[in-house]
Amino acid sequence: MVTEAKPKTKRQIVTLTINGDEHVSLVKVNTTLLDLLREEFDYTGTKKGCELGDCGACTVLLDGEPVNSCLILAVEADGRSVTTIEGLEKNGKLDVVQEAFVNHGAIQCGYCSPGMILSSRALLNRNPSPTEREVRDAIAGNLCRCTGYVKIVEAVLAASAESKA
């Protein structure tokens, strides 16, 4: 049993670009990127579902790649660029993936939606015309308990078709 307070956790300065804006923060070295985004910068669109890398609710794009922000330390993101769900809408216009999720009934409780949308966005960035199987692969790490994924898959395929049109 620990009886004396441990030495103070080390802190470090982190500079990162979030949704295009530069942010600087002095963070404890054990702070996750997820907590930095949520607690420090109030980007609470990034959700916390397990903190173990199992659910994908905390998915953000780090230099364009989808990652579980609960598994990444804030200090590891130093100098890098993060896109959260709040950064997808441009000039009041929804991203086609967001639009498709809204119009195809792909959102129920919505807790998985930010992560799901970002994983799908990353997929369409690298593969604008995915097959259904590729869509399912891309979101396999994002758990949803509400939808059975049926309308989510429909929405991503529709967004892909929409982007090409």
Binding site: M1, V2, T3, A5, T9, K28, N30, R38, D42, Y43, T44, G45, T46, K47, K48, G49, C50, E51, L52, G53, D54, C55, A57, T84, I85, E86, L88, L94, Q98, E99, F101, V102, H104, G105, I107, Q108, C109, G110, Y111, C112, S113, I117, V135, R136, D137, I139, A140, G141, N142, L143, C144, R145, C146, T147, G148, Y149, V150, K151, I152, V153
Partner: protein, 776 residues
Amino acid sequence: MSEPAAKKEQYSVIGKSVPKVDAYDKATGRARYTGDLKVPNALVGKILRSPHAHARIISIDTSKAEQLPGVKAVITAKDVPSVMYGISPARYDENIFAVEKVLYVGDKVAAVAAVDEETAVKALNLIDVEYEVLPPVLDPFRAMDPDQPQLHEQYPRNISVEIHQNFGDVDKALADAYHVRTDTFSGTRAAHVPMEPHAALSKWEGGKLTITCSTQSPHYFQYHIARVFGLKMGDVRVLKSYVGGGFGGKLEPSGAEYVSAALAMKTGRPVKLVFDRWEVFVHHRGRHPQHITLTTGVTKEGKLLGCHARFIIDGGAYTSLGIASAYYAGAMLPLIYMFDHYRFDGFRVHTNLPSCGAQRGHGAPQPRFAFESQLDMIAKDLGMDSIDIRLVNARKPDTMTPNEFKVNSCAFTEAIQKARRISGWDEKKGKLASGKGIGIGCGGFISGNGYPIYRTRLPHAGAVIKVSEQGDIATLYTGAVDIGQGSDTVLAQMAAEAMGIDFEDIKLVTADTETTPHDFGAYASRQTLMSGWAVKEAGEEVRRQVLELAAEMLEANVEDMNVDRRVIYVKGSPEKSIPFERVANEFFITRGPLVGRGKYAPPKLGGSFKGAPVGTSPAYSFAAQISQVETDEETGQVMVTDVWDVHDCGQVINPTLLHAQVEGALFMGMGEAMYEAMVFDANGKPLNANLGDYRIPTALDVPQVVSDLVDSYEPAGPWGVKEVGEGATLPTMGSYANAIYDAIGIRIYDMPLTPEKVWRAIEQRKRQEREAAEKK
């Protein structure tokens, strides 16, 4: 019972797939769930939980934790009211913190409030609890033995509830039967797994407690929280922010609200408490593992004569909502097929495992799996087709179950026939390639419960609609709770339809005990029908007042007036018209606020025997589900490739949302059927209380789903509606089990249908075949 088609087409707003009112906020990350809320000066609350399944608390020393800088409060049972809570006064058996004994790994022992999470967690580690570890009761079959330790003094032999219901003469029916079978089935402790963990943010200001939490029923929380803390209900405000799924697990208080409230009262600062995933699992309140023995008799033609159902139900440590689950287990069995003689004997027992409660479908899905499996076995014994035996027995409209549930609309036969057609059953059954199979399972469910969740004379739902002074918008105030299923959207559609205005004109204030009228909330698949009635009545009151004034303004008879999509006109002379907003504005100027009010209470339902209220409902849904599977004989892997679900859920308010409910429910049933089960070690410690080891379906697991409907109109529902959200979980497990049997000739009696189980069964069959061949 069908309403004329012409009438249906007159609807302007209902029946259409408008996008959900909250979809934009949820797609952009604007939607804030309880854990996302920030308030000034807030502290973080954390709960210390028991590491033992059964132990006596000898002492708790919180002094070291209290001294840690940043810790603002440490509380245990002695710091909070000792008032107990639970589902009914005779079974109030939980305290905010364990008093003398802990009864499961995860039982609440103490809590801290600190400036941040890291400090709070450190403080938890500094609390010294001395336990005397007691032998745990882990086996539900042994729990009732006299030599087993007792969990609760008030429940001798660990019997939480014992139920005996008897209708007709089952013994005679079975004696008269041409064929009788007895089979035993069992289910698992499956969990709700909402993606959002339970959370609460409590404020204590000027003698008033305000709790924002992830809840399915603010009213029910308010009732218990006020009772436990000895406050007036009016001094407790419970509201929700966005809720990230519930599935039954957020219907009763979880402790997050009691504990954060107690910490807020002690510190005078707001306290936010969010469960981590492990806590969500150990708190549980999900599916009861049931062990079900069915003895069922039929005629030569497959007509069901009678059934005797026996249940041993593992309830875990506390009653939770489990007494209702135990009654539901037996009460729902005779709903979908017609037979007159039914007996149900059940025991819910306590074990030192997480408490079980209400989960989508409540107590009904596992017994339904058992019955659907056994019915298939009976069909095979008789040489009948699985669908034909269901058609012989399918419930008809305007009938009564043996346990006195009155069924009005029922298009069950049509649902089975349609499922048969769209799945290609007749071309497939018995004709698929080796390893492939097709099976059917059916179900039905209540559309709201006939009696409230606690004893009260309050109506089940209330609604108020207030039209703005300019008449351009209307705000619907309802206590109904949108937990993701889309009730806000559906109720807004109903409000607009009732008033004759557009969907876009409706604003919502919902699920807040202070600002919205009482409603029991999101459970028992009740809101579309029950909250819907209240909203319809409120909307019609607005409409009536507006039309009365418009008649005066247009110098016409009020009986001749109509309003549709904001245009008020005289029937037959549409040139005499006036916009809704002009009349509403005039109403405010000359008569004051334009308000409509509505309420709903179900008629008296059900019989007068013990437990008769459980399962009563104004209306019942019915569903048939056919699934097709592929099995790999080498690995035991089962893949569900296709599912056809045909539902009788009355009239549909929003088709997209309706099918989304079916898809979600079906997939939850699939998880329970194929992989989901909480497992424990020999000391009752959970082994898979995380999302990596407790596997729920992913996007890779899900079959092709066709969700279809049959036409039906329910006279007891507003605009003919019935439920959909829970009923769709019911047919799934049986349908998969039957498809697997069709594929490989192996009957699996216990859930989940894991590859290992299937593989072992295949190996056993092969061995038997080899042995038989050798003997020859």
